[in-house]
Subunit: 356 residues, 2 copies
């Protein structure tokens, strides 16, 4: 099985290296090939998603992705900026199903800004649609305003769109994921204002007919943002569009206070996927050896489970991560007095040791 390793920028290379070490320690045979992406892609080949990198990602059975973005690329024109690589990979690989767990490990309950009783034991799965919505919808641009009170002025515009089968397939992902959990799906929309999301609500309701064993409720996105802060543990699976999912998944991740722990998977129709930590490239701490590699290591576990059909090996990694937490090992982002502060390499090595 072939895995494309795309370390990216900032802390990307350091954390990806630890995840690769963990994969190598499983005693399986993986073919791994590395390629530059994001700022590193631009630096090497003049484009954040170089042709060779895209080709490798397409050929591979799965992609392990670090993180992209660095201050030095901030002044590039938008089409060349690092994050365009992520958007490009999602679109080119058809990665429409984004799974983003927000889990609070009991040992890390203190890291949250929320009161322990509100978040301890938190375990939400956000299913975000990732190739549609206003992210890619055309037409878009800056033009002369064609009508209304501002006719003749310049205006920026974008198009939000969801076709029926795009909604159906992400709804199936959510209902199927819920079956393996607490069997409750909350579909988040803005059906009271947007045509796109009234349509979304209608289609999700229709798909739900095939899942009588799963509970479905609908919630407006503004209310969902409130309920995530008020009583996050009431959620099981949240399914929503690309734009709302971007906002809500980051909000949910931050509820845990330990975003350095959260993996993600972005899957196509055949469960081939790109797996990356939920956090960013943190260029301010790059190269210091203090970044938390656990989100990337757990992303490798998601890769094994979802894309490579190796659930048992995924379980092994996840247990090893629990073991190192129980041992009291903490990178600085999750450190608390009374625990042992370690760096990126030592944390990775501890997971490898715990695997054995």
């Amino acid at each position: 099985m072939k895995i494309a390793i795309l370390p990216g920028d900032g802390i990307g290379p350091e954390i990806t290296k630890q995840a690769v070490n963990v994969l190598n320690a499983l005693g399986e045979r993986f073919e791994m090939e590395e390629a530059p992406v994001g700022g590193a892609g631009y630096a090497a080949h003049g484009h954040p998603l170089p042709e060779g990198t895209l080709k490798l990602a397409k050929e591979a059975d799965a992609v392990l992705f670090g993180a992209v973005g660095d201050f030095k690329y901030d002044t590039l024109e938008r089409a060349l900026r690092p994050e365009q690589a992520i958007l490009g990979l999602r679109k080119e690989l058809g990665l429409f199903g984004n799974l983003r767990p927000a889990i609070l490990y009991p040992e890390l309950a203190g890291a949250s800004t929320l009161k322990p009783e509100v978040v301890s034991g938190l375990d939400i799965l956000i299913v975000r649609e990732l190739t549609g919505d206003i992210y890619f919808g055309k037409p878009r641009g800056v033009r002369e305003c064609p009508d209304g009170p501002f006719k003749g002025e310049r205006e920026g515009f974008d198009t939000m769109r969801y076709a029926e089968s795009e909604i159906r397939r992400i709804a199936h992902v959510a209902f199927q994921a819920a079956r393996k959990r607490s069997k409750r799906v909350t579909s988040v929309d803005k059906a009271n204002v947007l045509e796109t999301f009234q349509f979304w609500r209608d289609i999700v309701t229709d798909v739900h007919k095939e899942y009588a064993d799963v509970e479905l409720d609908h919630m407006y996105v503004d209310n969902a943002a409130m309920q995530l802060v008020r009583a996050p543990k009431k959620f099981d699976v949240i399914v929503t569009g690309n734009m709302f999912g971007d906002i809500l998944s980051d909000c949910a991740a931050m509820l845990t206070g330990s975003i350095g722990m959260l993996p993600s998977a972005s899957l196509d129709a055949n469960n081939k996927g790109l797996h990356e930590p939920s956090h960013g490239s943190a260029p301010d701490i790059a190269g210091k050896g203090i970044a938390n590699p656990l989100a990337t290591i757990l992303s490798a576990a998601m890769m094994l489970r979802y894309s490579l059909g190796k659930a048992e090996q995924a379980d092994r990694i996840e247990s090893a991560v629990k073991t190192v937490l129980a041992q009291g090992l903490r990178t600085p982002d999750i450190y608390e007095p009374g625990t042992s502060k370690v760096g990126t390499e030592d944390m990775g090595a501890a997971v490898v040791a715990a695997l054995r």
Copy 2:
């Protein structure tokens, strides 16, 4: 001066009544006229925003609005549902500038789900654009998908749009508000993905040239949702578009844990405005006499300050509200052991007494 009183549905009438009592206790002469809106508008005249109600709102110098929505109107077609009245009033009255403070009163710090050190003393002002963006942008609807991989299927679609002068005027509102506060504005956008919000960022940056005394920074909306949970006190004024503002202002309100305390103002170019509590119509507790009238009373204060040019009277109301909190009076939504639980009428009466 003429004030249109639109009580609406659910707890709307009870809480509006207390705000009217407070206005009457100021010793000023206001002409107040009441009209049905939302479900009550539909029940009386077959439309959530009856013609007579709209006419009254247009004629008046300011509108005091309760809340709309009730279970019994949930099955109506969208154009007739209560919340269409809010959208209609915003559009018809040109209320583009929405001011939504998120303030945590020291006495109520315990009500938040966040740790006291994270939220005590919280005082954010969210400036949300309210008549543009994807809320009103055309074209929109459900159609046969015209292109791309889903061509021929049904699809829902909406248009996000912002014209230059729409962005300019809301940016001015934000910078001017910041001048009366800590002089810091965070403009929230999604310039890395949306053309509309790259344009937004460019225009806000340009308007900022007129406000050298105010600090401006730009933040992506997903990061803003995270920072609101992580370190909300770092914000002073947040300015953003209609859609992002809907989500972030509710998130920020919930950080306080006491959404029953939060007023809002929606202003036109001449500061004429509609003033309403940030919370909803809570039909489940309507008529029980337990709703918190303070957000509506504080909305009346915002009305005096912003729309009627009576800052001194606004101050008097705000002090009176602080007095009743200091007296330990609490409606059930903000009750804690050791305080005195009171109902809607008693809370309103206590504010009137404190005014004198």
